[in-house]
C-alpha cells in the first residue's frame, strides 16, 4: 500500500493534477475565514459591477484629505466624463466634417478628444440634425469644463433658511488615504446580476458543485461496481440482463435520460441533493461495463479457482480475490465520475433543469444566471469566466490524476 502510494505520487501527471485540485479545494476552505461577505448577500444595487475597490463617496467628501503635488490627470477626467453617446457624437462629427481618424483606436478616448480639440469649431459648415447639433455643443462644453480646473464645490443645506452654503472646495490635487476611510469594500471579481460578490459566491458554488459531483460519483460508482461484479462474476441470466440494460443506456445518451428525469421530478423537488442523486443514477452504465469486463478476465485466474476449490464463499472470493485487483480501476472510475458529475450539473443548470433554488449557488446556476442576464453579450467577463475556468481546472486536474494513475497501474503506457 505504502509502496503504491509512493509510486502514485511520483507520477508527474498525478502530482500536477493533485496539486491543482488540492489548491482549488484548499482555497475554497480557507477563503471563508478571510472574508466577512456572505455568498448570497446582494451588495450591488444593479447588474454586473466590474471588479475593483469601492469607496464610499460621501465619506471621501467628508474626509479631510491630503494635498499631493499630483494634478488629477486632465485626460482621465475627460475620459471619465465622456459616455458612449458622446464618443459616438465625436465620431459622427469627424465623419461629417471629413476628418480622417483612421489612425487612432476608437476606444482610446484621450486620443479622440485630442483630435476633437484640434478640429472642432462651432461654426461648422455641414448640415446635420438638431439632436446632433446639441450633442456637439454638449461635448464641447464637457471638454472645456474638464480643461479648466475649477474644482468641485461642496455645499450644505442650512437647516434654518434652507439655503445652500458653500462649505468646501475640492480641487484636483486633493487626495484621500484609503486606510483612513471606513467604508471601503473590494470586489475582486466584481458583482453578478443579483449584485452578489462573485468571488465569495464562486467559492461557495465550487463547494456545492463538488458535493454534487462527489455524491453523483459515489452513487454511480457503487451501482456500477455492484452490477459489474454481479454480471461478471455470477454470469448466466443475470449477466445477460445487466449487459442488456447497460448496452441500452450506453447507446441512449445519459444526458437525455438526465434531462428527462430532472424534468419529470418537477421544480419543487429538485434541490442540490436530488440533482446529485439523479446524476449518479444515470451515470453508472459505463462503469458497470468496464468493471464487468475486468471481472470476467479475473474470474478464471488460478488464484480465484484455488479459492473456489477451498470452498470459500462467493462474498469472500469477491472481497479478497477480485476487489483488490480492480481497486485501482475503481478509484480511477470514481475520479472520472466526479468530474463528469460536476460537468453534468453545470450543463443541466444551463438548460434550466439544475437545482431549483436561489438559496444556494452552484457553478451551473451561476453560469445560468449570468447567461440569462446576457453577461456573455455585455462583456461582463467577471460573471462567467471565473466559473468556466473553475470547471475547467477541476476537470483538468481530475483527468490528469486519472492519467497519472493509469500510467502507474498500466505499465504498458509508460514511455
Amino acid at each position: 500500500m505504502k509502496n503504491t502510494l509512493n509510486q502514485v505520487f511520483h507520477a508527474p501527471k498525478f502530482l500536477i493534477g493533485f496539486i491543482i485540485f488540492v489548491g482549488l479545494i484548499g482555497f475554497c476552505f480557507i477563503y471563508p475565514f478571510f472574508t466577512d461577505k456572505g455568498p448570497l448577500t446582494m451588495y450591488g444595487n444593479g447588474n454586473f459591477f466590474p471588479p475593483g475597490t469601492y469607496v464610499n463617496r460621501e465619506e471621501v467628501v467628508e474626509d479631510d484629505g491630503y494635498t499631493l503635488n499630483i494634478e488629477r490627470n486632465a485626460e482621465t477626467k475627460i475620459a471619465a466624463s465622456l459616455g458612449d453617446n458622446e464618443i459616438k457624437g465625436i465620431l459622427t462629427y469627424f465623419d461629417l466634417a471629413g476628418i480622417d481618424y483612421s489612425g487612432i483606436d476608437t476606444n482610446d478616448k484621450v486620443a479622440l478628444v485630442d483630435l476633437w480639440m484640434e478640429n472642432y469649431s462651432s461654426d461648422y459648415s455641414f448640415k446635420t440634425t438638431t439632436a446632433n447639433k446639441k450633442l456637439f455643443a454638449r461635448i464641447q462644453s464637457i471638454v472645456e469644463k474638464a480643461q479648466k480646473d475649477t474644482g468641485v464645490i461642496i455645499a450644505e443645506k442650512n437647516a434654518e433658511t434652507g439655503e445652500l452654503e458653500q462649505s468646501e472646495t475640492i480641487t484636483g490635487t486633493s487626495y484621500s488615504n484609503t486606510s483612513d476611510l471606513a467604508s471601503v469594500i473590494t470586489f475582486v471579481l466584481g458583482t453578478d446580476n443579483f449584485g452578489r460578490d462573485v468571488l465569495t459566491e464562486l467559492v461557495s458554488a465550487t463547494k456545492a458543485s463538488l458535493r454534487i459531483g462527489l455524491l453523483a460519483g459515489c452513487i454511480a460508482t457503487t451501482i456500477g461496481l455492484l452490477l459489474g461484479l454481479l454480471a461478471g462474476y455470477v454470469g448466466g441470466v443475470i449477466d445477460n440482463l445487466i449487459t442488456f440494460v447497460t448496452n441500452l443506456f450506453t447507446v441512449i445518451p445519459s444526458f437525455i435520460i438526465l434531462i428527462l428525469i430532472s424534468y419529470s421530478v418537477g421544480d419543487s423537488a429538485r434541490g442540490v441533493t436530488v440533482v446529485g442523486i439523479i446524476i449518479g443514477c444515470t451515470a453508472w452504465p459505463w462503469t458497470t461495463r468496464s468493471v464487468r469486463s475486468q471481472v470476467i478476465s479475473l474470474r478464471n485466474r488460478d488464484h480465484v479457482n484455488l479459492s473456489k476449490l477451498s470452498g470459500h464463499s462467493m462474498m469472500r472470493i469477491i472481497l479478497t480475490d477480485i476487489l483488490p485487483y480492480i481497486a485501482s480501476y475503481v478509484v480511477m472510475a470514481l475520479i472520472l465520475q466526479i468530474s463528469s458529475g460536476v460537468l453534468a450539473e453545470a450543463q443541466l443548470s444551463m438548460i434550466g433543469l439544475g437545482p431549483a433554488t436561489t438559496k444556494q449557488a452552484t457553478l451551473g446556476l451561476m453560469m445560468q444566471w449570468a447567461t440569462q442576464y446576457s453577461a456573455h453579450l455585455n462583456g461582463a467577463w467577471w460573471a462567467y469566466f471565473p466559473v468556466v475556468i473553475t470547471i475547467a481546472l477541476m476537470t483538468f486536474s481530475m483527468n490528469l490524476m486519472n492519467q497519472g494513475l493509469d500510467q502507474v497501474f498500466n505499465p504498458q503506457l509508460r514511455d
Binding site: 424534468y263 418537477g266 450543463q347 476537470t395 483538468f396
Partner: protein, 334 residues
C-alpha cells in the same frame, strides 16, 4: 445467414429494440411531471372569465384536444400512431404551432453544425495523438497537454470564451443566431455569406474541445501498438518504418472508433448547451424553450430526435467498424 449479413442483421435488430425502449422512456418520463400544463394554456385563453361551468368546458376542450384526459397507455398509442405519420402533436408553449414544424426548422442547423465539427475534431485529435506518440518531443510535452487543458473546458465555456474574444472584443464575428437578423433564409450569396460567418464560432468551439480528449486516447493506443510484438517482428523482417507506422495507426484507430461511439451521446449533449450560448436556432434552443415553457410534447420530441440521431450515428460507426476490422468478419464466419 453468414458473415457480414448476420453481423448487420443482429446489429440492426438490437438497435430497433433500443429504439423502442428509447421511445417509451421519452414518452413516459416528461409526462410524469407534477403540475398540469394544459391548465395554464386553458387559463391563458380564459383570462377574465369567471363562470365556473364555462371554465370547466374550456378546460375539458383543451384536455380532449391534447389527449390528456385519457389514461397514459392510451395516450401513448395515439401518440405513436400519429408519430409514425410525422405528427408529434402541438406545442404547448408555442401553441398552436406543430412540434414537427419546430423540429423541422431546428434539426438541419444542429446537424450541419455538429456533424462536421465532431468529425473534424475527432480527425485532428487523432492526428495530433498519433504524432505525439510517434514523434514525441514538443508535440508530446507541450501541444498535446495544451489541447488537453483546452479540452477540459465544457463546450459552453469554450463558447463564452470565443464569444468574448472574437465577437465582443475584436468584433470580427457575429455574437448570436445562425444568420443576420435582417435576412430571410434563401440561397442568395448574402445569406450564405452571413451563415458562414455565424458558423465559425460555434464550429470552432466544438472542434477545439474535441481535439484534446481524442488526442490523448489516440496517443495511448498508438504507444501500446508501437510496443506490440508484431511491430518488433516487422522491424526484424526489415519492413520499412513508414509501412509499419501505417499498420500501427490502422490498429490504433479501431478502438478510437468505438471510443467515439461511446462518447458521442455525451458530446452531443454538451454541444447542445454550446448552441444555446450562441442562440443558434438548433435543437438546443428548442429544448431550452421547451423546458422554460413546460412544454413536454416539444421536450420529448427533442430528446427523441437527439436519441435517434445518436442511435443512427452509433449504428453507422458499427457498420464502418465491421468493414475496416477484419476480425469482425472472421468471427462471423466461424
Amino acid at each position: 445467414m453468414k458473415g457480414y449479413k448476420k453481423y448487420y442483421f443482429n446489429k440492426i435488430l438490437w438497435y430497433l429494440l433500443t429504439l423502442v425502449c428509447a421511445v417509451i422512456l421519452n414518452f413516459v418520463l416528461p409526462r410524469l411531471m407534477p403540475g398540469d400544463p394544459v391548465a395554464s394554456i386553458a387559463a391563458n385563453s380564459l383570462a377574465g372569465v369567471t363562470d365556473a361551468t364555462q371554465v370547466q368546458k374550456v378546460y375539458a376542450e383543451y384536455a380532449a384536444k391534447f389527449g390528456t384526459d385519457k389514461p397514459m397507455w392510451e395516450q401513448f398509442f395515439i401518440w405513436l400512431g400519429n408519430a409514425l405519420h410525422g405528427d408529434l402533436g402541438q406545442s404547448f408553449s408555442q401553441y398552436p404551432r406543430e412540434v414537427s414544424d419546430i423540429l423541422a426548422n431546428a434539426i438541419p442547423w444542429t446537424l450541419a453544425l455538429q456533424l462536421p465539427a465532431i468529425i473534424v475534431g475527432w480527425l485532428l485529435g487523432n492526428i495530433l495523438g498519433a504524432i505525439a506518440a510517434y514523434m514525441k518531443g514538443v508535440f508530446d510535452k507541450a501541444i498535446l497537454p495544451a489541447f488537453m487543458f483546452i479540452g477540459s473546458f465544457p463546450a459552453f465555456g469554450m463558447a463564452t470564451i470565443l464569444l468574448f474574444i472574437f465577437a465582443i472584443k475584436l468584433q470580427i464575428a457575429p455574437s448570436a443566431g445562425a444568420y443576420g437578423f435582417d435576412l430571410l433564409p434563401s440561397f442568395s450569396p448574402a445569406f450564405i455569406k452571413s451563415v458562414l460567418s455565424h458558423y465559425q464560432l460555434p464550429f470552432w468551439s466544438i472542434v477545439l474541445i474535441t481535439i484534446g480528449g481524442q488526442g490523448i486516447g489516440m496517443r495511448s493506443m498508438a504507444i501500446y501498438e508501437l510496443n506490440a510484438d508484431y511491430v518488433k517482428y516487422s522491424r526484424f523482417l526489415g519492413i520499412k518504418d513508414n509501412k509499419i507506422v501505417g499498420y500501427v495507426f490502422r490498429n490504433a484507430m479501431l478502438p478510437q472508433i468505438t471510443g467515439l461511439a461511446l462518447s458521442l451521446g455525451t458530446m452531443i449533449g454538451g454541444n447542445m448547451v454550446a448552441e444555446m450560448m450562441f442562440s443558434y436556432p438548433g435543437l438546443g434552443m428548442a429544448m431550452l424553450s421547451a423546458v422554460t415553457g413546460q412544454d413536454y410534447p416539444l421536450l420529448s420530441a427533442c430528446t427523441l430526435i437527439i436519441t435517434i440521431m445518436v442511435l443512427i450515428a452509433n449504428l453507422a460507426l458499427e457498420i464502418i467498424y465491421g468493414i475496416i476490422d477484419p476480425r469482425v468478419k472472421a468471427q462471423q464466419q466461424d
